[in-house]
């Protein structure tokens, strides 16, 4: 065989192999991706098919665990996603508004930490799971550049990529970014469990039950203390601040009522919170919502519920979520007639 033909065959086989891997990674994610993926798939389907109903919940893992849509008095969908922040919520809100009949009410709830960090999740979950497109990622990068926010540039992913190449690799599903998950799952090992998760999340309209894991607390204290307690001071980054405000503006322009609420922390976590963090967060939310039509701020305090309703000091267990959702249901009923009406979600001894 001539060397030229040899080289061509090497390149052809390599290309075919990569194409097969690409196809596998992008078409069969359910087979091997981690359990966050079927949750995203379930929620993405709700948005794509415009089935969010009248109330949509946007936020992160704490909102995802705390709000049970079935307990609310109106058709609702919990579109909050773990390990995401205001950036991802903006793009979910934008997708929702493409529907002929978008939700009438959006409940917006991010944890303190979500405003002051942006991590690998933008690519590892947002882009890899199909939540963010290449254009979205470039929008985010351009916004960060405009704001002189270098947080994105400082994040290193294992692939060694950065900038536009990283955005391209993750948003096009280049197979190498899936390999660690595929190996972990031994290619098809997560198929059944992922299908179960997807179906469970779809049935629960986006609510995710967080398993009890007492060791998940930040400090190993008897009553688990959540990650929020590790925050030294509240320092929101420009990128998350921008997308928080942009989400409110977007929803406001579309005439969708938005209410920002606090999701309860465990009492042990609140007690361990650094002084000033809670007040600074409340002030920050007030600043972001101030003067925007259709946006109400019910985040007037960082609230705490009894420790028994939490799996790890931050995320509510099923009993906590049920009680909290019932309290929220009463508020939603009020908001239906009076969107700006204040609503107290703090623990009351009668609960």
């Amino acid at each position: 065989m001539t060397p030229r033909r040899y080289t061509l065959i090497v390149l052809a086989v390599a290309t075919l192999g990569l194409a097969a891997a690409w196809l596998f990674a992008n078409r069969l994610g359910m087979a091997f991706l981690e359990s966050g993926y079927p949750i995203v798939v379930a929620k993405h389907a709700v948005v794509a098919h415009c089935q969010a109903g009248e109330v949509a919940i946007l936020g992160d893992s704490r909102a995802e665990a705390a709000v049970i849509p079935a307990e609310l008095p109106l058709p609702a969908a919990n579109l909050a996603l773990g390990a995401t922040g205001p950036v991802e919520s903006y793009f979910t809100a934008r997708a929702l508004l493409r529907c002929p009949q978008p939700p009438k009410l959006v409940i917006y709830a991010h944890s303190i930490e979500a405003f002051q960090t942006v991590g690998q999740g933008i690519w590892q979950r947002g882009a890899r799971f199909g939540l963010l497109s290449f254009t979205d990622l470039r929008d985010i990068a351009a916004t960060a550049a405009t704001l002189h926010d270098t947080t994105l540039d400082q994040i290193s992913t294992n692939d060694g990529l950065s900038g536009i190449l990283r955005d391209l690799a993750y948003s096009t599903g280049f197979p190498s970014v899936f390999l660690p998950s595929a190996l972990q799952a031994r290619l098809f090992g997560r198929w059944q469990s992922n299908l179960r998760v997807r179906d469970a999340v779809s049935t629960a309209r986006g609510h995710v039950v967080y398993p009890d894991d007492p060791s998940a607390g930040a400090t190993g204290h008897d009553a688990p203390i959540g990650r929020d307690a590790t925050i030294g001071r509240f320092a929101p980054i420009p990128l998350e601040t921008h997308y928080t405000k942009a989400t409110f503006a977007l929803l406001s322009q579309a005439g969708v009522d938005t209410v920002v609420i606090p999701i309860p922390l465990a009492r042990a976590t609140l007690a361990a919170l650094q002084p000033g963090v809670a007040a600074a967060t409340v002030a920050f939310i007030a600043d972001q919502t101030h003067g925007i039509p259709h946006v109400s701020d019910d985040f007037t305090a960082v609230i705490a519920w009894p420790d028994r309703y939490f799996v790890d000091g931050s995320h509510m267990n099923k009993a906590g979520a049920t009680l909290f959702s019932r309290r929220l249901a009463a508020c939603v009923t009020t908001w239906r007639s009076t969107p700006a009406a204040p609503c107290d979600l703090a623990w009351q001894d009668g609960d």
């Binding site: 086989v13 390599a14 692939d159 060694g160």
Partner: protein, 506 residues
């Protein structure tokens, strides 16, 4: 830029190759300039300002070389210029690599000493500095023939060796850049180079990188390791280092070959060595050659001349006396190996690593002097020798990797059971990890190396031992192409978890 990054594989390499052969059609000088430009882009990818330091180093050394050659008829002046050149190179290396550590070390004893900010170590400074020191010494010795500035630039900056070696010798490389045939696309060399590159990439991404998490975790808290955990850590690192460097060396050979340049050998199954001398003839061969030529031999010769002048004897009988052995073997070996150790880094761990290998080499030489006619080695004896050599190297590698001497001692304490000796397989990691390790050991000790597999292609400068008869040697066949193509797919898939080459930090 890493050889094992998506940007290199799919962006830089195709562009660099295409540009090289296309510009070569317009002239070899233009192709040379293209290659220098591409190499500078490759070097500056992480830190563009570092290119200025590289260029300054090249300009300084070329000027020194020019002066050394011009002063051929004035040996004293020539020696002075050579000395200045070498000292300046060593000083630059000392400044970037050792100054901060030295001041921090002294600061521990004398707090009045002002601390300085950490100095960012330019990538590959040890490699391009050593390469150029060798050139200056060869200029002084009248061994350099090609003095073309473009060929010199190519010799120093050629990207396949720029950041992590091999340390090239001008006599091996500059004539190849002067040869017009180098600038013609050769489909056979392209096929051979591509094959080498893919084999190296697979070693890096599929063999070395998966071990990095275990090694990082282990060295983050070595005091917590029990016996199984500590052995797992030490063995994992020894394999990670082996496949990382082996993979890098294959990739460097392959990249150079694609551009019709043949590199010297740098890595040849070191864990198959039956003694520590053979180990250093197989591990980082270009560094061993450099240190032998420019440190060990001059020191040993100086000692022998001194002994000869003072009638102390230099023959075998003299070598077997304690004083003779200490001066003619132990001192040059220890000096060379301590330098080899601290060449890798400024910490005390590297010094111990070098000294340890110096002691190993002394023992090995002493044994040879005491047993000049050893009996033929039986398979069992060979196996024992390989095992003993590997264990000695393993011990050194703990100091080589550990962030501090204390951490290294913790690992050693763990390995000897001082941190608990429970036979818990959980400490050894997952079943997948154990299977991976077993497979890697099977490759290390059961397979011929890349050079042997590719022996037919004359992959490196000098002779290559062929693969054993039972192993099919490489030739451009359908099945070889399909296997290498498949290996390429797997290697590229592994780029998602790419980590830096271990030798980049030196």
């Amino acid at each position: 830029m890493l050889f094992s990054s998506l940007i290199f594989v799919f962006g830089f390499l195709p562009l660099a190759l295409a540009g090289f052969f296309l510009t070569a059609r317009l002239g070899t000088r233009l192709a040379g300039c293209w290659l220098v430009g591409a190499s500078l882009v490759f070097y500056g990818w992480w830190s563009p300002p570092a290119v200025l330091l590289l260029l300054a180093s090249i300009a300084f050394n070329y000027a020194c070389a020019w002066a050394i050659i011009a002063l051929e008829t004035r040996p004293a002046a020539q020696a002075t210029v050579t000395g200045i050149g070498v000292v300046c190179n060593v000083a630059a290396l000392g400044y970037y690599k050792y100054l901060f550590s030295l001041i921090a070390f002294l600061h521990g004893f004398y707090h009045g000493l002002a601390m300085i900010d950490p100095i960012i170590l330019p990538l590959g400074i040890s490699f391009f500095t050593f390469t150029q020191i060798g050139y200056l010494i060869d200029c002084k010795a009248g061994l350099t023939r090609d003095r073309d500035p473009l060929n010199y630039l190519l010799f120093v900056t050629f990207f396949p060796h720029l950041i992590a070696g091999p340390i090239l010798h001008n006599r091996d490389i500059m004539p190849q850049f002067a040869d017009r045939r180098t600038y013609r696309l050769d489909s056979e060399n392209l096929a051979i180079g591509l094959t080498f590159f893919i084999i190296g990439l697979l070693k890096k991404t599929a063999c070395a990188d998966p071990l990095s998490a275990i090694v990082q975790q282990g060295y983050a808290d070595p005091a917590a390791l029990d016996a199984v955990g500590a052995w797992n850590l030490a063995l994992s690192y020894s394999l990670q280092l082996y496949f990382d460097f082996s993979g890098y060396s294959d990739m460097a050979i392959g990249l150079a070959r694609m551009m019709n340049i043949t590199f010297p050998r740098n890595f040849e199954s070191p864990y198959k060595a039956t003694n520590i001398i053979a180990y250093w003839q197989r591990w980082h061969i270009s560094l061993t050659t450099f240190l032998t030529s420019y440190v060990y031999t001059p020191v040993a010769l100086a000692v022998m001349r001194y002994r000869s002048r003072h009638r102390l004897g230099i023959n075998r009988a003299a070598q077997q006396t304690p004083a003779g052995f200490a001066s003619m073997f132990a001192a040059p070996l220890l000096i060379t190996m301590v330098l080899a150790g601290i060449w890798h880094g400024s910490g005390l761990t590297f010094l111990i690593f070098g000294a340890l290998h110096g002691v190993y080499l002394c023992i090995c030489h002493a044994w040879r002097l005491a047993h000049p006619n050893p009996p033929p080695a039986t398979p069992a004896l060979r196996l024992g020798c390989v095992a003993l050599t590997y264990l000695s190297v393993l011990l050194g590698s703990i100091f080589f990797r550990a962030p501090s001497v204390t951490a290294a001692l913790h690992v050693l304490a763990g390995m000897t059971g001082l941190h608990g000796a429970t036979l818990s397989l959980a400490s050894a990691g997952s079943q997948m990890h154990l299977l991976h390790m077993a497979l890697l050991y099977a490759i290390v000790w059961g397979m011929p190396n890349s050079l042997q597999i590719m022996a037919r292609t004359r992959p490196v400068i000098g002779p290559v031992e062929p693969a054993p008869a039972w192993f099919p040697a490489w030739s451009p066949t359908w099945y070889a192409a399909a296997a290498i193509g498949l290996a390429a797919s797997l290697a590229v898939l592994g780029l998602g978890g790419t980590t830096e080459f271990l030798y980049f930090q030196f």
